[in-house]
């Protein structure tokens, strides 16, 4: 919901129902990064109300459009976070699997060596 004025659409407040600091703080950060914004802030009018007010004032562009751009950008950034994170986890898992395989290989080699040595020792006894 938007509370603005008919004559000047560069200043407006928005009420988001069923949202809290989680979204509002991130949106406020995005708005503050936008050079068109002169003021951006949010408040939760009362702790028992499940809503948050976001205030946007711009240098001239419609506040609604600026807020929309902020949300859009936030969404794209999230997508980027997800793809980078997924890639990092996948790489980590591949690396772990490789290390584990190497470890097993080494164990196997060790066991093989032990077996050979035992065999050698038993042969010695026979020889004597």
């Amino acid at each position: 919901m938007e509370h603005g004025s008919f004559t000047n659409n560069s200043h407006a407040s928005f009420t988001l129902a069923e949202e809290d600091h989680t979204l509002a703080n991130a949106v406020r950060f995005m708005l503050n990064q936008d050079p068109r914004v002169t003021l951006a802030g949010y408040s939760i009018p009362h702790p028992s109300l499940d809503r948050v007010n976001i205030r946007v004032q711009t240098t001239g562009d419609p506040a609604r459009e600026v807020l929309k751009d902020a949300c859009q950008e936030l969404m794209l950034m999230n997508r980027h976070v997800r793809s980078v994170f997924d890639k990092a986890v996948a790489e980590f898992k591949v690396e772990q699997a490789r290390l584990k395989a190497e470890e097993e290989e080494r164990e196997k080699a060790k066991e093989e060596l032990k077996k050979q040595r035992e065999q050698l020792e038993s042969m010695d006894i026979e020889g004597n």
Binding site: E19, H21, T22, N25, R28, F29, V37, H80, V81
Partner: protein, 376 residues
């Protein structure tokens, strides 16, 4: 005489481009912008979201952070097991890190026991306490396979999981511990019959499953269990008995903490420990001794002297124990890096922690989408 060349030079002249004019922020401002300094009264320079143009006069403008974000954002996984993950998230604002944390704790869905139908309980644990204890048991099942049970819905195989618990401590035996391993999954739904209204109506149970859950492909060879089979629910004396059914539904941690899919999720900024000058000999040993986290180490110099080094700055908890010493305070600088987060997630077993994180990011995306839809 002013030549044509001079005119062009004057037109293109920009003082910032002269080779001996430093570019960007001066170091002391850079430090303010990128580091938090823990002080005894309160941490300094904690703010991160300066408004665009905050540093424009000094040339260190970073309002285009959004663009640099796509190049600079990095994730580095430190460790990842089935239940825990630790990773570094670099080049992101704290408002994001905190949003993900809040969502992980309160808004990523999971399954938890919501209704407990008690047929018999002669144990010392009273019904409501028992029901509460059972509600908090984590269930190892992917919540994405289920739907929310809304108020007018009938509990069915798509939104409810039913467990049965029937234990009795026989007379003449020693006390019995009731563990979560006694909870038995009922893929066919409730076995308790509702009181029939008409005498000839077919008796109904408390759920209306149209098919057995273990006939569904996702559970066919992977039966639903609890995350931990060794949680103590109650203790029974000889002759006591508990018979109940527990119905689990999907929900989020905002409603009740039992639906939180994480034991906890937390982050901290990367600590940075800097020695301002050489800390040598006796002082070096004092520094090493002062730190409970063993951040510092001693290095032997060639001439038999000793020098302190910062061996493991990551271990620093910013306890400030080292700067309590009147002499050491002049040598040690403690800071935390504002855009480097050490992130930890502990899953309760419903989903692996890395999946939980991607789910959390998706939820934040959906929130943005909702706002966008409402605005256009």
């Amino acid at each position: 005489m002013v030549t044509e060349e001079d005119k062009i030079f004057a037109k293109n002249f920009n003082i910032d481009q002269l080779p001996d004019v430093p570019a960007g922020l001066p170091p002391h401002l850079k430090l303010k912008q990128s580091r938090v300094v823990p002080k005894n009264v309160a941490p300094l320079n904690t703010d991160s979201a300066i408004y665009s143009g905050g540093y424009v006069t000094t040339g260190g403008e970073e309002s285009v952070k959004v663009e640099s974000f796509y190049e600079n954002f990095k994730v580095d996984v430190i460790s990842c097991t089935e239940t825990d993950i630790e990773f570094d998230m670099v080049g992101i604002d704290s408002s994001f890190a905190n949003a993900f944390r809040r969502i992980l704790i309160a808004e990523v869905p999971s399954m938890a026991i919501e209704k407990v139908l008690i047929a018999n309980n002669t144990s010392l644990v009273i019904d409501e306490v028992l029901a509460h204890r059972i509600g908090l048991i984590p269930i190892a099942v992917d919540p994405r396979l289920f739907e929310y049970l809304s108020e007018n819905d009938q509990p069915n195989e798509k939104n409810t999981i039913v467990f049965k618990l029937h234990v009795k401590c026989p007379k003449g035996e020693s006390r019995l511990k009731v563990l979560t391993s006694e909870l038995q999954w009922l893929p066919n739904g409730s076995e308790f019959l509702k009181e029939a209204k008409g005498s000839n109506a077919k008796p109904k149970t408390y759920t209306s499953f149209s098919c057995s859950q273990d006939s569904l492909p996702e559970f066919a060879d992977n039966p639903i269990t609890l995350s931990h089979l060794d949680i103590l629910i109650a203790k029974l004396s000889p002759g006591q008995e508990i018979e109940l059914e527990a119905h689990a539904v999907k929900g989020i941690g905002k409603t009740h903490a039992k639906w939180s899919p994480v034991g906890t999720a937390w982050y901290r900024m990367l600590p940075e420990v800097v020695l301002k000058g050489e800390v040598e000999d006796e002082l070096a040993e004092r520094l090493v001794k002062a730190c409970p986290q063993k951040v510092f180490d001693i290095e032997d110099m060639g001439n038999g002297g000793k020098r302190a080094t910062v061996a493991q700055p990551r271990k620093c908890t910013l306890c400030k124990e080292c700067v309590r010493d009147d002499e050491l305070v002049d040598f040690v600088d403690l800071r935390s890096v504002k855009d480097h987060f050490i992130y930890n997630i502990e899953s309760t077993g419903s989903l692996p922690p890395d999946v939980l994180f991607t789910e959390a990011v998706k939820i934040l995306e959906n929130k943005c989408e909702r706002v966008l839809a409402a605005l256009s």
